[in-house]
Amino acid sequence: MKEDIYILGIESSCDETAAAVVKNGREVLSNIISSQIDIHTIYGGVVPEIASRLHVQNINGVIRLALKEAKKSFEDIDAIAVTYGPGLVGALLVGVSEAKALSYALKKPLVGVHHIEGHVAANFIEHRELEPPFVCLIVSGGHTHLVIVKDYGSFEIIGRSCDDAAGEAYDKVARAVGLGYPGGPKVDKLAREGNPHAVEFPRGEVKNSPYDFTFSGLKSAVLNYINHANMTGESIDKADLCASFQNAVVESLVERTIACAKEFGFETVAMAGGVSANSGLRAAMEEACRREGFKCCYPAPGLCTDNAAMIAAAGYYEFMKGNISDEYLNAVPNLKLGER
């Protein structure tokens, strides 16, 4: 019988310092996250220099805790997986330098993982029976991609945002409405109390690219709406505004994802990334999949946001394919999906 494989995952691409131990790419033995969100909230967004400083401060403690909670020691670990891009360069460098040093001193293989591939792999943890191929909508603060997951770690990009990422639009609207940072969960919560058809905001279309997204027009429409109301002294129903904005975002995400699954003949639709924790998006995608007879997958909220378990899961499949990194591995802040 084949032995079990244990991967130590390390993630530091943005504002979470995280480490996890995952068994055979699917079973999470520990998933430790040291969140910096309270500090960055003061500044209304992630401050790269502060994030990088906190990563250095916390990383060893987080790794130690991940091993302790998994009841594993370094000797039990088969490989070390680390996010090397995309993300904030200073933040990525902390995890990459740490992982390379660990890998060298422990004489364990190193696996560089694409952060977004990690988000997709969160679905393998949540749905143990899920196997490629399937359609996946990747939505986060930095990314909006519609992809076909052809195999583990193999993607074909069908559509992407040509301007703001969906999560970015959420953050900007939240700030304008005065909800603060992080915008996604706050807008989502308020949207539940509002009328999604109170204001008809435009659904952006990208000419000749039916699967691409655009959110900058929508964002401007919302900001103009607020500004117009402020200038004319009209009061704004924030719940209605959030519900209408969210409805517009969700509709364009769901519509394209379902159309893609239909055109390319897939019956499984997955979602990944921080915005896939959005309750409005989940409900709408579930509903659309039910209507089409598709299977709808998404990770638990804790696995949607940045974490190291997903990095370990993605790292497992790279490790099994023999994709090992060497001591020259560098942080690649603008690493594209599918690139190595």
């Binding site: 990088s52 040093a101 001193a105």
Partner: protein
């Protein structure tokens, strides 16, 4: 006692192994700022040639700052990963003091390392007989010269701040009684050998007894010494931080006004 020295506070990437009062090996590169691609490959080839292993070290001495924020973090995270894996402590060494230590047998009375800190400042300090006479700080070259010229002693300068400020320093000291010198290429930049030697010199007693403090520590607790707060924090403290939401709203308001 074997100490691994790591230095990445400036353009120089350097690793060294010191065993008691012997330098066993040193690998130093002064190329471009790509420490994330040079530091570990250098360490690996040095230890391979030496036939040494990280686990055979008693401690890791790290050049902790001041210096380039990113460089300091690459050095720090590398040292923390190695120390965590090998279960050995970290010795926190000042980058400036290590620069000074390279010149400790120089004939000059005062040793003054200066590192380019941008924004018209240098990271600097001054030592006499290994004792600090000007504490480590980020300040203008003028402020530093003012402090240094309070004495009439001979001064030697080193560090990557020298090429930026050499002519100015020379000119300012023309009218003063101090003799000034500039260190040459054998010891005018950071070297891990100095970091390791200084670390060993300062902490060998305590290292044997495992008496931890804020310089000899468990790798979990080690953080670089930046000497400067992040810019966003400085702006917040001075009340300059402006909410980005307010900014984008104002931009749109201006746009709307223009349309009307």
């Amino acid at each position: 006692m074997k100490i691994l020295g790591i230095e990445a506070s400036g353009l120089v990437a350097s690793v060294a192994v010191t065993e008691d009062d012997i330098l066993r090996g040193e690998f130093t590169i002064n190329n471009r700022l790509t420490h994330s691609q040079t530091l570990l490959p250098m360490l690996k080839s040095m230890l391979d040639i030496l036939g040494e292993d990280v686990c055979g070290m008693d401690a890791i001495a790290v050049s902790a700052g001041p210096g380039s924020f990113t460089g300091l973090r690459i050095g720090a995270a590398t040292a923390k990963g190695l120390a965590l894996a090998a279960d050995i402590p970290i010795i926190k060494v000042s980058s400036l003091e290590a620069l000074m230590y390279e010149l400790s047998s120089d004939r000059a009375d005062i040793i003054c390392p200066i590192m380019d800190a941008r924004r018209g400042q240098v990271y600097c300090g001054a030592w006499k007989n290994l004792e600090p006479v000007i504490s480590e700080r980020a300040c203008s070259v003028d402020k530093l010269i003012e402090e240094l010229s309070k004495t009439e002693e001979n001064i030697i300068f080193s560090g990557d701040g020298v090429p930026v400020h050499k002519e100015y320093i020379k000119k300012r000291f023309e009218s003063k009684k101090n003799q000034i010198y500039f260190a040459d290429s054998t010891n005018n930049r950071q070297r891990a050998a100095a970091v390791a030697a200084l670390g060993l010199k300062k902490y060998s007693d305590r290292l044997q007894k495992k008496e931890f403090d804020d310089t000899l520590m468990n790798s979990d607790d080690f953080v670089p010494e930046y000497l400067r707060k992040p810019q966003a924090e400085r702006e917040k403290d001075s009340g300059l931080l402006e909410d980005a939401g307010a900014r984008s709203l104002r931009k749109i308001a201006n746009g709307v006004k223009n349309q009307i």
